[in-house]
Assembly symmetry: C2
Homo-oligomer: 367 residues x 2
């Protein structure tokens, strides 16, 4: 999840907040590391002294992927003792790259692979994954988890919802079309970067074969709750209708078919550039806070732990929706009240709330 400036939260909430709030994203990656290790196992990797380059696109603070990256690069090192490894962490310029380096180089409490893998060079890049990040033909393994749903810009406001999963008709079509354009462009840039034989491991938020998506599976829909409380605050006059209309998650959740389309259609530029789907599956990973709640049964405790995991990535969207004529303090107060209200709802009626992760896991190879 890429939209958060970690240090803002660290400063506001104290160290550890971000890692704790994104523990579910870590589970997603840890659980799917096997898909990458299998993909590595399937291919002959020459121990020929050339660079092996891996990217982690949309890395945030690098903490959620650190164990997965360590397992993957250890496997590469075991297969190819002679190859220098370049590990490139990418996110937007405002990301806290200092925190990435502190995590990876072992200056925080996190366990890190960096000291146990020889001939390893760690880099950061702030080039958007909507553009080419590394030179053409230099990439062995491009990885991105829970990031590529961010689109370059909002195609049009959504009149009836804050997220495209609630959009209908022509609005939904416009968002889906924007999602398709950005997805094709994302894959084309990656295909340019890849060496022949190289591969992508993309764990994307999406809509699975049963129509499920993030936070929709517990019984109470997270995005519908986001939308309803925001509109309640408009109805009460705390915010304006124009602000509600301006609040749109700049994200498209794609269906499995939409993910596959450019890879399966021999006429698509992605297919023609040589990218193929090697493995596609969807999985639901349960919300760790809802699982904890089943065990401890304390609704207030659940609400306190649950809201930060939503807030860690959604808060910037609500702040951005508010009028720039409001002071920063005023905007912060409104958003505090908003999440306070969401927390109170969960504490009052906890059952059904859960941010279960719904991902489409793809391994793609360049022929």
């Amino acid at each position: 999840m890429t939209a958060l400036k970690t240090d803002d939260f660290m400063a506001m909430k104290g160290a550890g907040y971000y890692s704790q709030a994104t523990i579910g994203a870590k589970h997603v990656m840890d659980n799917a590391a096997g898909l990458i290790l299998d993909a590595l196992e399937r291919r002959p990797l020459a121990d020929d002294g050339t660079d092996f380059t891996m990217t982690d696109m949309g890395c945030a603070d690098g903490g959620t992927s650190i164990d997965m990256v360590g397992r993957v690069l250890s496997a590469v090192r075991a297969k190819c003792p002679s190859r220098p490894i370049r590990m490139v962490y990418t996110d937007l310029p405002r990301n806290d790259f200092s925190q990435v380096f502190k995590n990876v180089h072992g200056l925080t409490g996190l366990e890190t692979y960096a000291k146990s893998i020889s001939d390893l060079y760690v880099f950061a890049s702030a080039t958007s994954f909507h553009r080419q990040i590394v030179p053409a033909g230099s990439l062995d393994l491009g990885h991105s988890a829970t990031a590529s749903h961010y689109i370059t810009e909002v195609p049009m406001p959504i009149e009836n919802h804050v997220h495209m999963v609630g959009a209908t008709g022509a609005t939904r079509d416009a968002w889906r079309a924007k999602g398709a354009v950005d997805w094709e462009n994302f894959l084309l840039n990656r295909t340019r970067e890849l060496k022949p034989g190289g591969f992508l491991a993309l764990f994307n938020f999406g809509i699975d074969e049963e129509g499920r998506y993030l936070g929709s599976t517990g019984g109470v829909s997270m995005f519908d709750t986001f939308d309803r409380i925001w509109r309640e605050m408009a109805a009460e006059g705390t915010i304006t209708e124009a602000e509600v209309l301006a609040t749109n998650f700049p994200q498209v959740y794609r269906t499995v078919e939409e993910f596959r389309a450019p890879l399966d259609d021999p006429g698509s530029p992605v297919y023609q550039a040589g990218l193929r789907a090697e493995h596609v599956e969807t999985r639901v990973v349960r919300c760790p806070f809802a699982v904890d709640f089943e065990r401890h049964g304390d609704a207030a405790k659940f609400a306190r732990a649950y809201i930060p995991t939503l807030r860690s990535w959604s808060e910037p969207v609500f702040l951005a929706g508010l009028s720039p004529e409001r002071t920063v303090e005023e905007r912060a107060e409104i958003v505090d009240a908003y999440f306070g209200r969401y927390e109170a709802e969960v504490a009052r009626a906890p059952h059904g709330h859960a941010m279960d992760y719904v991902h489409c896991y793809m391994i793609c190879r360049k022929v």
Copy 2:
């Protein structure tokens, strides 16, 4: 200058403080860009489609080098239209790499080269220049300005001064020996990184043929003033003698002979690894604030502008010298008082104060 966490200062002082305070360092690089362009001109650069990699080691916020890097990379692009360019900014993990990316990618007021050079890939690394930063044999041009005087650790306290330029006898010998070890190690790591035919452009703080060094040339020695005021505060009981002893700039200023030694001695590991001096000269670049003062003659204005350029890189050293048993607030107050006293001295008797830059400029090639 590498020791400052930019955003601490930005937060304390407001945006622009750092760039303004380091304008002299920018002059040093702008004035010496010709040395790098000449070195490029001297060598045949094949337009063969392979990567061209440049590093800027100890980059701080990337702002001081941005014009120089733009001129150099534009020259590379003109000579070699087919070669992807990797530009790698390096500093310590605590550096504000987000600010580096914002500057280079054009998100601040700074003019940047990034959008006018095609097939360019910008990276950051937080690997210390005392270690290998990029894979062996992958570097075309290693650049570092005003950074390599930082040593890995203080060899012993200096009993009579805060900086090794004031040390004598066995203490000075110990610091010079530490400087020699780190310099040889720095050059060995760079030689491993360089391609054959690749080169280094190192603009190092040092001691020139006439014994001059940073801030010693105006009449009033900057480092002696640093030392005297700190001891005055000890004599008055504001700080302790132990704290004065614990205050040591972790820097060695090397003489031209010391810079050249590993490059000229056929028995040295650096020479044997294939590194040679191609051009060595020293230059004094005048303190821009002292030059301004000659024009405007306003002592208080000079003092206000001058102290930040000292403080931007020296403050962490004084903070680190203070006892960890003091609160953070107490330490900040003491250091505020310290620089306030320095400023009052300059305002009262401005003549002779000047942080003239004394650098040794070296171009080294790998055979």
